[in-house]
């Protein structure tokens, strides 16, 4: 990167760090921060949509749909989320391949599960073994996003379901008294009022989501944890590819600081949003703001 990096004498000087920190591998490490932010940017709205669907389903008058919604909300209770992460990545992958297998190879007679193997016809493989590397990475990342969305959708459904129940009952009754249908009451009365009650829970969820991003590593995506482990460590104890010893502790210290800054910034931003949204609301927070002026 810098011209002085070609001079071997810099090895013993502090300038060496400038050379080290701009190597190609380190660039991949920096880029993986983008992967994390991309995951957050996609997962947050998708999980919110999943949560909204789950909460609406739980409120449905059609009993089986309501059970389905309640089951989805109850899913995250009692079982560690990491179990779902590990489960869904394989289950979704196999589910997709199974569906494609049924559609693309209808005359394939061998069973799919043979002992400890899961065999589908070559045309049903996802992504196809002939497709370039980038598609494999994109597929892996999308599976991770979908997994995150399902798990955090269940959390969001829990929050939104609680928020829907927190809307004063009198509001719904008034709407019914005006002759609104169930659907109209839901969209025009319940949903607009729900958000204030949901916001504390949702901002909590955002913090939890931020702190769950390192789990991407477990889903096989080359994220910051992967690169920190790779770059910091020596390949073997004695013969190392890198001109330094075990620096993983420093790399992870960096990650720790990154997450601390990130959660602190989110906290400040969410505080501002909360202040803005409670302004003029008939809640204790809104009343306190009114008196403070």
């Amino acid at each position: 990167m810098f011209s002085f990096c070609t001079d071997p004498s810099v090895l013993s000087t502090p300038e060496w760090f400038a050379c080290y920190l701009t190597t190609g591998k380190l660039m991949l490490f920096y880029a993986s921060f983008g992967t994390v932010l991309l995951l957050l940017a996609i997962t947050a709205p998708v999980a919110l949509a999943f949560g909204f669907a789950g909460a609406s389903a739980a409120r449905a008058r059609f009993a089986p749909l309501s059970w389905l919604g309640r089951l989805y909300i109850a899913m995250v209770r009692g079982v560690p989320d990491i179990v779902f992460f590990l489960f869904f990545v394989i289950a979704l992958d196999q589910g997709f391949e199974y569906l494609r297998h049924k559609i693309k190879c209808p005359d394939w007679t061998d069973p799919i599960r043979q002992g400890s193997d899961f065999i589908v016809c070559p045309a049903a493989k996802l992504p196809l073994s002939t497709s370039p590397q980038i598609w494999h990475e994109i597929y892996g990342f999308s599976l991770a996003v979908l997994t995150f969305s399902i798990v955090f959708g269940a959390f969001a459904a829990n929050v939104l379901y609680g928020a829907m129940r927190a809307v004063p009952r009198a509001q719904i009754e008034t709407a019914e008294a005006y002759g609104m249908s169930h659907r109209q009451t839901f969209w025009r009365i319940l949903i607009p009022q729900m958000w204030v009650y949901a916001l504390p829970g949702l901002s909590n969820l955002w913090m939890v989501l931020v702190k769950a991003t390192p789990l991407l590593f477990l889903l096989g995506v080359e994220d910051i944890v992967y690169w920190a482990r790779e770059l910091g460590g020596a390949k073997t104890a004695r013969f190392t590819d890198y001109p330094h010893g075990d620096w993983r502790v420093w790399f992870f210290l960096g990650l720790l600081v990154f997450y601390l800054c990130f959660t602190r910034l989110s906290e400040i931003a969410l505080d501002r949003i909360m202040k803005r949204l409670t302004r003029g609301q008939a809640t204790m927070g809104g009343e306190a703001q009114r008196k403070a002026v």
């Binding site: 995250v76 009692g78 489960f87 196999q94 400890s116 993983r248 992870f252 601390l260 602190r264």
Partner: protein, 268 residues
Amino acid sequence: MSCWDVVADYGLRSLGIGERLLPRDDFTICKQVVLIGSGMIWNVYFGALALVSGFFLATALAVGKASHNRLARKASEWFIFVFRGSPLFIQFFFAYFLFLSLKSVSPMFGAFSSAWLGALVVLFLNTAAYSGEIFYGALLSVPKGDVEAADAYGFSGWPRFRRIIWPTMLRLAWPAYTNEAIFLFHATTLVYFSGFPALQQRGDALYYANYFADKTFNPFVAYPILAGYFIVLTLLIIWLFGAINTRLNRHLPSERRARVRYRPNLMR
């Protein structure tokens, strides 16, 4: 081979007692249930010890954060911020590599780089920070009248804290603390998926569940078994903490008692 033989062989496998080799073929349901259950020993070990030891540090942190002493307050605030603001997963990695580097400085830290002690220390500090924040919130909402009444009776200093403030703080914090305990037990599954190695394949429940899912390429058996174990564990925690909650609230009329509600907002 009957299921009882499997229990004899693999029941304490996670502690290194019994059969050394993990099953390589013929993954029966019985083997999976027994081995995953054997791994639960570690989850209960990490969770229970971290919870009990973390409880005391959490009380100290809550008092520290509420104190007028600037040094104690800042120290507690920073401790809580660092452990609540960063992912537990990264904390595990960082601690493992830190202990590994310290090990080369002094052999005293050798034990810390293995999971049974190193991960326990991280979980202890982590749960202390989360519970400390809960206790701090409860400490601030101890009714003023209770403290004034204690003053009027001539209580002060340590006896006032021990007999009046602390029990009320615990009573107010207990529902949230129950959630914290549940999520602490869930968090113990991260231990063997972060830096800490499972020596001789002595892992926790998730470690074995993952082993079976990888070997059979079938996630639909091992993970539901693990989920079943955790649901039972969660119900046990709720029962135990509910009993303590009843005891803490025994002097109150029944309608004023705080109920334990499940709120999934204390995840790491």
